[in-house]
C-alpha cells in the first residue's frame, strides 16, 4: 500500500524534475533539477528492491557526474540566460523530430505486452550478494573487460597528471 | 658570517630521503610537539581575578608630591619640561602670595601643570631632572578614554592628596642610587 503511494510520489517527482530541467532559465537550476530526477529514480530502484543499483546511481550520477556538471556550469558562469535566436527552420525540425520520437515511443509501448505481476517483479536480483554472483559468473567477461577499461582510464589520468605536473 | 645565536640552521636544497618524503615521521613529531604544549603550564593570567605583578620600579602615570607638611613641592622651574623628550609637560608659574605658605613650599609655584599622557613616553627623565623631588612616576597606569582631552592631566589629577593616608608611596623609586645621583653636583640641574 505504502509502496504504491511511494511509487506515485517518486514518479511525479521524477517527471516534475525532468520538466523543470527543460523549463529552468538558469543552467544551475537545470543541473540541480536533473540531480533531483536522479534521486527520484534511485527511489524507484529501491522500490524495485535493487538497493545496490539505487545507491550506485546516487553515488555515480548524483554524487560525481552531476557535481562535475555543476562545477563546469559554475566555472563557465552561465548565470545570465542568453536566449539564442533560433531560426524557424530549426524550430520546425525540432517539432518534427520530437513528434517522431513521441510516435515511436507510443507505438513501442502499445506493442509491448506488459504483464504486471507484483510478485514476479520483486525479486532478490538487486541485492548485493546476488548481483555480485551474477556479475562474476554469467557476465564475467564483460565485467572484467569494463573493469580493465576503468582501471586503464584511471591510470591514464594519473599518468597525464604526472606528465604536466612535474 | 658569524652567527649571532647557535640556533640558526643552514638551508640546503638537498633531495629529501624517502622517509622524509612520506612526511609521516615529520607529522608525528610535530604532533608530539603540540602535545607537549597541551600539558604545559598555561601562560594566561585570568585578568579580573588575578592581575599581573608590576615591577617595583614600574614607570606609570606621574604624581606631584607634597612635602611632610602637605605643601606642594613643585617650584615650577621648568626643568622637567626641558628634560622631557616628548615635550609632554607644560606649566605656568605664579608667585606665592603671603598667607599661602601652608600650600606651597617654595616662593614660586606652578599655577598650571599639565602632562599630555598621549605624548608622554614614561621615560622618567622628568623625575631625574627634578631638583625639588616633586615629580615621580608611580605604579598606577593611565586609564583609557574615548576623547583626547581626557588624557591631558592637570594639577587636579597629578597632585597627590594632602590627606596623609592617601599619600602615594614612592620610596621604591627613591633608591639610594637615585638619592646619590641627586646629590651629584656635576649634573647641571642639581646645581643651585
Amino acid at each position: 500500500m505504502l509502496t504504491k503511494y511511494l511509487f506515485y510520489f517518486f514518479s511525479i517527482l521524477a517527471i516534475f524534475a525532468s520538466v523543470m530541467v527543460l523549463m529552468s532559465k538558469k543552467p544551475i537550476h537545470s543541473v540541480l533539477y536533473l540531480t533531483l530526477a536522479f534521486l527520484a529514480i534511485a527511489g524507484h530502484f529501491i522500490l524495485l528492491n535493487a538497493q545496490f543499483i539505487a545507491i550506485v546511481n546516487v553515488i555515480v550520477y548524483a554524487g560525481a557526474i552531476m557535481v562535475l556538471f555543476l562545477f563546469t556550469v559554475m566555472l563557465l558562469n552561465l548565470n545570465i540566460a542568453i536566449e539564442h535566436q533560433k531560426s524557424n527552420l530549426i524550430k520546425i525540425t525540432a517539432v518534427i523530430a520530437a513528434g517522431l520520437l513521441f510516435v515511436t515511443i507510443t507505438g513501442a509501448t502499445k506493442k509491448l505486452d506488459i504483464v504486471y505481476n507484483h510478485n514476479q517483479v520483486v525479486t532478490q536480483i538487486g541485492m548485493v550478494k546476488n548481483l555480485g554472483k551474477i556479475l562474476f559468473s554469467d557476465f564475467r567477461l564483460p565485467f572484467e573487460v569494463s573493469g580493465i577499461l576503468f582501471l586503464s582510464a584511471m591510470v591514464g589520468t594519473v599518468m597525464l597528471g604526472k606528465k604536466t605536473g612535474d | 658570517m658569524i652567527p649571532l645565536t647557535n640556533r640558526s640552521k643552514t638551508v640546503s636544497n638537498k633531495k629529501m630521503t624517502f622517509a622524509e618524503r612520506l612526511y609521516l615521521p615529520g607529522i608525528v613529531s610535530g604532533m608530539f610537539i603540540t602535545l607537549k604544549h597541551f600539558f604545559r603550564k598555561k601562560t594566561t593570567i585570568k585578568y579580573p581575578e588575578k592581575k599581573r605583578e608590576f615591577a617595583e620600579i614600574y614607570r606609570g602615570r606621574h604624581v606631584l608630591k607634597r612635602d611632610d607638611e602637605g605643601r606642594e613641592r613643585c617650584t615650577a622651574c621648568g626643568l622637567c619640561a626641558l628634560a622631557c623628550p616628548a615635550e609632554a609637560i607644560t606649566m605656568v608659574a605664579e608667585e606665592r602670595k603671603p598667607g599661602e605658605e601652608h600650600l606651597y613650599r617654595e616662593e614660586k609655584y606652578a599655577k598650571i601643570y599639565e602632562i599630555d599622557m598621549l605624548r608622554c613616553i614614561f621615560c622618567g627623565l622628568c623625575e631625574e631632572a627634578c631638583p625639588k623631588e616633586a615629580i615621580f612616576l608611580t605604579k598606577e597606569t593611565v586609564i583609557s578614554g574615548f576623547h583626547r582631552d581626557v588624557f591631558i592631566y592637570g594639577k587636579d589629577r597629578l597632585v597627590e592628596s594632602a590627606d596623609p593616608d592617601k599619600r602615594i608611596d614612592i620610596t621604591k623609586r627613591l633608591t639610594p642610587e637615585v638619592i646619590e645621583f641627586k646629590k651629584d653636583k656635576k649634573q647641571r640641574h642639581n646645581r643651585k
Binding site: L32, I59, V67, L68, V158, K162 | T34, H37
Partner: protein
C-alpha cells in the same frame, strides 16, 4: 520494536546535536591548550555554557542575504548540508545492544545490506550543500570556495572508496553490522589494514573540509570560503554540520578500523549480555572521542595544504597507494584463506 527504533533515532539525533554543540567548545578549549592558553572559561564553570552562549548569539544576529543572491538556493544550501550531515548516523552500529524482557535490541537504526555504500552516497550528496550555498551567495570568494570544495570532495571520495574496498573484501559484506561483528574482541581491522586506515583517515579529513585540507573555507585566501556571505543561524548550520560530520566520521573510523563497540575480553564470563552492551557503547564513544580529539590535534598542528599539493596528494599519491593496498589485501586473502 518500532517504538525502540523511534527512541533510538531521536536519541541519536539529539546526541549528535549535543556532541556537535560541545565539540565547538572542545575545539576552542583544545586550541587554547595547544597554544598555552586556557580557551573560553567565562560562561559557567570552566566555560561549560559557552556553546549555549554561542548558539544564542547566532540566533540574535542579523539575517543577511546578498541583494542578488538566489533566494531559494541560498536557504537550501545550509539546510541540505545539515540534513546530509545527520543522515549517516542511521547505519552506524552504536552498541552490541541490550536484552530487555526476552527481546534483544541492537543499537542500530537500519542494518541495510549496502551500509558502506549508503554512507558514500550520503557523503557524495553532501557536497551539494556547500556548492549550492557558495554559488547562491553571488560572491566570487564563495564561488571559489564552492568550486574548491566540490573538486576536493570528488577527488578524495574515490580514494576513500578504494581504501574501504579492502575492508569489504576482508569481511565479505557491505553491512556495517557484519563488519563490526567480524572484528569481535580485539580482532580489529587496523591490525590488517594500517595503510588503508591512513588513507581513509586522510580522506576523511579532506571530506570533512577539516584542516589541513580546509581549503574551501580557507580564511587567508577566501575570507570565509563558501560561507562568506552567510550570517545568523544559516552560518550556524554550516559550522554545526562540520562538527556533526566530524562526529560521524570519527564514528565511521572507529567502526571500520577500530572494532566499533568491540573491546578486548568482551567474552569473559563475568560480563552479562547487558553489561557488554553498555560497556560496548561506552567504548565506542571513547574511540569516537579519541578520533574527535585527533581531528583537533591535527588541526592545531599542521599548516594548510596548498591547492595543487592537495590535488597531487589525492590523485598521484593516495590513489596508487590505495590500489596497491587493495591488491595486497586480495593477495593476502588468497594466501591465508
Amino acid at each position: 520494536m518500532l517504538i525502540f527504533k523511534l527512541i533510538l533515532i531521536v536519541s541519536i539525533l539529539l546526541l549528535s546535536l549535543l556532541i556537535a554543540m560541545y565539540s565547538t567548545l572542545f575545539e576552542r578549549k583544545i586550541a587554547g591548550f595547544f597554544q598555552d592558553r586556557f580557551g573560553p572559561d567565562r560562561a559557567g564553570p570552566g566555560g561549560i555554557f559557552q556553546p549555549l552562549a554561542d548558539g544564542l548569539k547566532l540566533f540574535f544576529k542579523e539575517e543577511f542575504m546578498p541583494a542578488k543572491a538566489d533566494k531559494f538556493l541560498y536557504i537550501l544550501g545550509p539546510s541540505l548540508t545539515m540534513l546530509v550531515a545527520l543522515l549517516t548516523s542511521a547505519i552506524i552500529p552504536w552498541g552490541p545492544g541490550i536484552t530487555f524482557k526476552g527481546t534483544h535490541y541492537y543499537f542500530q537504526v537500519a542494518d541495510i545490506n549496502i551500509g558502506v555504500l549508503y554512507s558514500f552516497a550520503v557523503v557524495s550528496v553532501g557536497v551539494y550543500g556547500i556548492m549550492i550555498g557558495g554559488w547562491a551567495s553571488n560572491n566570487k570568494f564563495s564561488l571559489l570556495g564552492a568550486i574548491r570544495a566540490s573538486s576536493q570532495m570528488i577527488s578524495y571520495e574515490l580514494t576513500m572508496g578504494l581504501s574501504i574496498i579492502a575492508i569489504v573484501m576482508m569481511t565479505g559484506s557491505l553491512s556495517l553490522k557484519d563488519i563490526v561483528t567480524a572484528q569481535h574482541g580485539f580482532n580489529w581491522n587496523i591490525w590488517y589494514q594500517p595503510l588503508g586506515f591512513l588513507i581513509f583517515l586522510t580522506c576523511a579529513y579532506a571530506e570533512c573540509n577539516r584542516s589541513p585540507f580546509d581549503l574551501p573555507e580557507c580564511e587567508t585566501e577566501l575570507i570565509g570560503g563558501y560561507h562568506t556571505e552567510y550570517s545568523s543561524m544559516k552560518l550556524g548550520f554550516y559550522l554545526f554540520a562540520e562538527y556533526i560530520n566530524m562526529f560521524i566520521s570519527s564514528a565511521m573510523i572507529s567502526t571500520l578500523y577500530f572494532g566499533g563497540y568491540n573491546f578486548p575480553f568482551m567474552d569473559s564470563p563475568a560480563l552479562s549480555v547487558n553489561a557488554v552492551g553498555i560497556i560496548g557503547t561506552f567504548v565506542l564513544f571513547l574511540k569516537i572521542g579519541f578520533f574527535g580529539f585527533l581531528y583537533m590535534w591535527i588541526r592545531w598542528t599542521l599548516p594548510r595544504f596548498r591547492y595543487d599539493q592537495l590535488m597531487n596528494l589525492g590523485w598521484k599519491k593516495l590513489i596508487p597507494v590505495a590500489v596497491i593496498n587493495m591488491i595486497l589485501t586480495g593477495l593476502g586473502i588468497m594466501i591465508f584463506k
